[in-house]
């Protein structure tokens, strides 16, 4: 492993301030002071109630377009995760709201094997071109 020497983050290596007149606050000491204050009998608990939701996966655009189950769930202000919790609900909503089939053929879907084959073909193309260049 090679780590290039850098000037980055001087401050982490010590009090190497570019401006000695500037007194840098000691954040960890301040935090300890604040915590000590709360330890004297007034420390609040974590907020009660529903725990925060787990990170949600990013939703691709088709799932947010009008007429999809997810969008209908939002429009009707149905509880979070209801599509997952109620078996068959997503399919039922889809059955109601699904738009008519497109007249044109859908674009080909990306799959691991298709991409793998394409990348391998491109790598071979690059190598054979390099071999030709070297030979000529």
């Amino acid at each position: 492993m090679i780590i290039a020497p850098g000037l980055w983050f001087h401050y982490l290596d010590g009090p190497n301030m570019s401006n000695p007149a500037l007194e840098r606050p000691d954040v960890e000491a301040l935090l300890a002071e604040i915590r000590a204050h709360y330890a004297q009998g007034c420390r609040p608990d974590e907020p009660a109630g529903v725990p925060p939701p787990p990170p949600a996966p990013p939703l691709p655009p088709a799932a947010t377009e009008p007429g999809t189950a997810w969008n209908l769930q939002r429009a009707l202000a149905l509880p979070r995760n209801i599509l997952r919790r109620v078996p068959g609900l997503r399919a039922a909503i889809r059955g109601i709201t699904r738009p008519p089939p497109a007249l044109t053929a859908p674009a080909p879907s990306a799959t691991g094997r298709a991409i793998e084959a394409r990348i391998q073909a491109l790598v071979l193309k690059i190598k054979s071109r390099a071999a030709e260049d070297a030979a000529s």
Binding site: M1, I2, I3, A4, G6, L7, W8, F9, H10, Y11, L12, S18, N19, L22, R24, P25, D26, V27, E28, L30, L31, I34, R35, H37, Y38, R43, P44, D45, E46, P47, G49, P52, P53, P54, P55, A56, P57, P58, L59, P60, P61, A63, T64, A107, P108, S109, A110, T111, G112, R113, A114, I115, E116, R118, I119, L122, V123, K125, I126, R129
Partner: protein, 391 residues
């Protein structure tokens, strides 16, 4: 020298830290005399999805950069969402499922074909960030020219089987923060790449005007600012929950103002104290930093956090989540902000900052000094030339 940046989303309207980092870095490198091209998809950004074409296909000139846009491959959304949820939750998935996931996660065969044909013309190919198909697959074509700018987070994607080979085949790896570099070396072994801890550049001449922001949006009194995408991965829901609880316990006039794309539910009882302004122009964002009492960065998944630097340059201290090694390192290293790890810390730090204007000023000055020491574009471009592109 001729360099290409390969990124899923590119453009002035593309939200996201990696997107802003790429655009600013590429622009400053081009201004320094390096020929820079961008290879990207037609999509706007992650929030809008990658199989919705926003930009026209083809080549344009944008801010001195030649930008080539290609259509992203279409995919099965239901299957992608199922796999994505499992991977983010840390569940094991089969190799076939993982390969399908990566193929669906913003791949573009037309982009790969262009890269195969045009790659010989470039000295270096910079792939950013690590988790998309454009990087995972594109970097296999010209490994000897591959520079990886991973913007790595400690998350399920980082533990996919495809990631160790990705990091192992790169010739250079550029890190935004020391904690990110540590995570990389903890996760992946046998890295041959030159590792460069570079940081990121920040515009140091922000013309921020807090009064202008208050006038334009009709805002009075002290406020905490959140600036960024309102996604669960950014932990903004925790900030809302904590702030709602804070307002139930205190009687001060402090408000929380959110700026950035996407929407997030705000509890009805907290709506008078929390205001979501949505996406605002960049100039307004700078003004908002200046008007704020403190910027809160609740995310635990940051590889740099440019909003902290911008806040310091605008004269405002930060309050960060101590569970994020990167932002914690920035706050402690600079002295420019406080740290919370639980609600008690959050309340204590907010009250302390509200009551100590002198310390707020000292922290903001210390943060500004940290940015000027480490993050000027002049120094970033010089380090790119010497340490990243140099022999």
């Amino acid at each position: 020298m001729k360099v290409a940046f390969v990124i899923p989303f590119f453009g002035a309207q593309a939200s996201g830290g990696a997107e802003a980092l790429c655009r600013d870095t590429a622009t400053h490198l081009a201004q320094s005399g390096i020929s820079v091209e961008i290879l990207t998809t037609r999509a706007l950004d992650l929030a809008h999805g990658w199989d919705r074409d926003h930009h026209p296909a083809g080549t344009t000139q944008e801010d001195g950069l030649t930008v080539h846009r290609f259509p992203a491959d279409r995919f099965d959304h239901d299957r992608f969402n199922r796999l994505n949820s499992r991977i983010l939750a840390g569940e094991a998935v089969s190799l076939d499922d993982e390969n399908d996931f990566l193929a669906m996660h913003c791949s573009s065969v037309p982009l790969f074909e262009h890269l195969a044909d045009a790659g010989a013309d470039f000295d270096w190919l910079c792939f950013i960030p690590y988790l998309f198909g454009t990087t995972v697959h594109g970097s296999r074509l010209w490994p000897e020219k591959t520079i990886l700018i991973p913007c790595l987070h400690d998350e399920g994607y980082a533990r996919l089987r495809a990631m160790p080979p990705l990091f192992q085949r790169a010739r250079r790896i550029v890190f935004n923060a020391r904690a990110e570099q540590r995570l990389c070396n903890d996760l992946y072994r046998d890295l041959d790449a030159r590792q460069v801890l570079l940081g990121a550049g920040v515009d140091t001449d922000l013309a921020a005007d807090g009064a202008r922001f208050r006038r334009k949006y009709g805002i009075e009194g002290p406020f905490v600012l959140y600036a960024g995408r309102k996604a669960a991965g950014k932990n903004v829901h925790t900030l809302i929950r904590y702030f709602s609880h804070y307002k139930q316990r205190t009687r001060n006039a402090l408000r929380l103002i959110l700026i950035g794309p996407a929407e997030i539910p705000i509890p009805p009882k907290a709506r008078e104290h929390i205001l979501d302004l949505g996406f605002v122009p960049r100039a307004d964002k700078n003004d908002a930093y200046s008007a704020a009492t403190v910027l809160c960065q609740p995310s635990v998944n940051e590889s740099f956090s440019i909003v902290m630097m911008e806040s310091w340059m605008s004269g405002t201290p930060c309050l960060v989540n101590g569970r994020c090694a990167v932002t914690r390192e920035h706050a402690v290293g600079s002295g420019g902000g406080l740290i919370f790890e639980n609600y008690a810390d959050f309340e204590g730090c907010l009250d302390y900052l509200l009551e100590h204007e002198d310390m707020r000023d000292r922290m903001a000055r210390a943060g500004r000094a940290y940015v000027l020491e480490n993050c000027t574009w002049q120094s970033i471009v010089a380090r790119y030339r010497e340490q990243v592109f140099g022999a």
